[in-house]
């Protein structure tokens, strides 16, 4: 565990080395939160859409934004560049697991992401009035914790595509767009047409926003909450071990770039 903890802390320190660019990133993120809040405020008025009134929607948007911020400070390119520039070679000469190391590094971003989320939530409460608290704090935190490995797996799998393709930017954007839509980051899944919302609720993306939001808002309780959490955990494990298998295959079939 020690090497991974050490890597986690190193990565956290590195995030602080880029204070300015991190600040700019968070300002941009804040602007997105403000604009989605104003759009929904205008749409909802005093009424409700698909069961969401204004206070509920506020809570949803904050949870969605928080989930979106997880991993955001690390940037997909960091992992992709390791492969593109051949740093993998040096990484693999170390007596540590590659995927575990990348996870520790990715998680290091939490050091700035968590404070940013807390600041944003406080600001929303300060400026727009209180938002409903989590229906079940424990279940919500459990579910939200799963967002960290889930988002890591998507980034890791996407970065792995660099073994095959040179156009990483395009793939990374496509990945973000898919996650945005299918996780419920764009709008709650229940507002999508049925032919989209049903498959989306079963796919791993739902675990990134829809599941923690449903547990926060108390839309799922009891057996339904357990089912959602179980599905989320299932996807974490499936993606984690799937990525491992794929990585092994990639190394065997493909190669490490550069002299």
């Amino acid at each position: 565990m020690k090497p991974y903890l050490s890597m986690f802390l190193m990565s956290a320190r590195r995030t602080f080395a880029y204070r300015l660019s991190a600040l700019i990133g968070w300002l941009g993120g804040g602007a997105i939160l403000i604009s989605s809040l104003s759009v929904w405020h205008a749409l909802l008025g005093e009424g409700a859409i698909a069961g969401y009134d204004w206070p509920m929607m506020k809570a949803y948007l904050v949870v969605a934004w928080a989930a979106g911020s997880i991993g955001a400070s690390q940037g997909d390119w960091r992992m992709a560049d390791r492969i593109r520039e051949g740093h993998v070679a040096t990484d693999l000469t170390k007596p540590v697991d590659y995927q575990g190391s990348r996870f520790a590094e990715h998680a290091g971003g939490l050091a700035t992401e968590i404070p940013a989320i807390l600041i944003a939530a406080s600001a929303v409460i300060a400026f727009t009035g209180s938002i409903p608290g989590p229906a079940n704090v424990f279940l919500f935190l459990l579910s939200f914790a799963c967002v960290v490995p889930l988002k890591f797996c998507f980034t890791y799998l996407t970065a792995m595509l660099c073994f095959w393709t040179h156009n990483f930017m395009g793939i990374s954007w496509a990945k973000d767009a898919i996650i945005w839509l299918f996780s419920g980051g764009l709008i709650p899944l229940s507002m999508l047409p049925v032919w989209l919302s049903v498959p989306a609720s079963l796919l791993p993306f739902a675990g990134i926003t829809a599941t923690p939001a449903a547990l926060y808002l108390g839309q799922a309780t009891g057996a339904e909450a357990a089912r959602l959490l179980g599905l989320q955990v299932f996807w974490v494990l499936a993606l984690w071990f799937g990525a491992r298998l794929l990585w092994r295959g990639a190394l065997r079939a493909l190669t490490v770039h550069g002299g």
Binding site: S6, P95, V96
Partner: protein, 330 residues
């Protein structure tokens, strides 16, 4: 029993045959064509504990690929590898504990953090006891002067400083087996000397060393055995001295003739040597096993007056250059 053993080691890369531009890329999606590039082609190597081996060859010969195979980074297409009883690509992590690796062209330091932090992380990765770590840092400071680099951000290091810090990082855990892929690339003479001195000490400590380089000075300074590869095949493997004996037989003597004796008179007199030159400057190339330098000078003195003269010793450079140029087939 070799400590590092490779048998019929082969790595074939599949290189996509892709046309230029977007059109080529799209076409490639549907009509996948590949060309097989054998980067390492049936190499047999056995290195004993404590040996220092130079691994040389022209660009693209397959040196780095061999090192990556020995580290377990790449999986061989065929053949076998065993390093200290471990098959690297099967048990990469166990192998990683035995080896230290430097890829001179890239750094393993964390770019945005002080050097100290990168070394601290390695201490945790290899689980080094505190006292041992302290002692290693002191030792590495003595020979590489890394003490002054510890608080510096890695991205602010000069190339030479970076290489010193990277060497320290590769050797921190005192590995038994060390692979260095171009450890002196881009360094100035002073830093090169420092690195070479360090490598000699490493050898004296009993470390098994494999070194790839294009700088032949590194080899003569550090290694007693040389392996030459070209296009993925081994073309020479033996003691450095033997290589010089077999391939670097020619010595050159440069003379300044003071009495105006024409060159062809000397050439006629020395029928078994090759005489060339211009005016009073004459160069005589001769087989060092057929003649001694003394015999040559004595013979010249019979027909001409000699002022200054000096002798070029055969350099492995000549041999390797010939091999690179395809003039020498072993």
């Amino acid at each position: 029993m070799g400590l590092v053993k490779a048998q019929s080691l082969t790595k074939v890369f599949r290189r996509p045959q892709k046309g230029p531009g977007l059109r080529g890329s799209v076409k490639h999606l549907f009509q996948r064509r590949f060309k097989d590039v054998p980067a390492v082609n049936g190499i047999d190597v056995s290195i004993e504990a404590g040996e220092a081996v130079a691994y040389v060859g022209p660009n693209g010969a397959g040196k780095s690929t061999t090192i990556k195979l020995l580290c377990g980074i790449l999986v061989p297409t065929s053949g076998s590898v065993e390093v200290a009883g471990v098959t690297p690509h099967v048990d990469r992590i166990a192998n990683a504990r035995n080896i230290g690796v430097l890829f001179g062209q890239r750094s393993q330091l964390w770019w945005d953090l002080p050097v100290r932090e990168s070394l601290g992380l390695l201490r945790d990765m290899y689980d080094l006891p505190k006292g041992f770590y302290q002692q290693r840092i002191e030792r590495l400071d003595e020979v590489l002067g890394i003490g002054e680099l510890m608080p510096v951000l890695a991205r602010k290091l000069s190339l030479g400083q970076r290489m010193r810090a990277d060497l320290a990082a590769a050797l921190l855990h005192q590995p038994r087996i060390v692979y260095l892929d171009e450890p002196t690339i881009g360094l100035d003479i002073a830093v090169k000397d420092k690195v070479r001195k360090f490598l000699r000490e490493l050898r004296a400590d009993g470390t098994t060393l494999m070194l790839t380089t294009h700088d032949l000075g590194d080899i003569e300074d550090v290694c007693e055995r040389i392996i030459i590869i070209d296009e993925g095949r081994k073309i020479f493997d033996g003691p450095l001295a033997q290589m010089k004996d077999s391939f670097a037989r020619t010595r050159r003597m440069h003379l300044h003739i003071t009495d105006g004796t024409p060159m062809d008179v000397i050439a006629k007199h020395l029928s078994t040597a090759d005489v060339s030159g211009e005016g009073s400057e004459v160069t005589i190339a001769f087989d060092r096993f057929a003649h001694t330098a003394g015999q040559i000078i004595a013979a010249v003195l019979q027909v001409a007056e000699v002022g200054e003269f000096h002798l070029d010793e055969p350099a492995i450079e000549d041999v390797v250059r010939k091999v690179y140029a395809g003039e020498l087939l072993v």
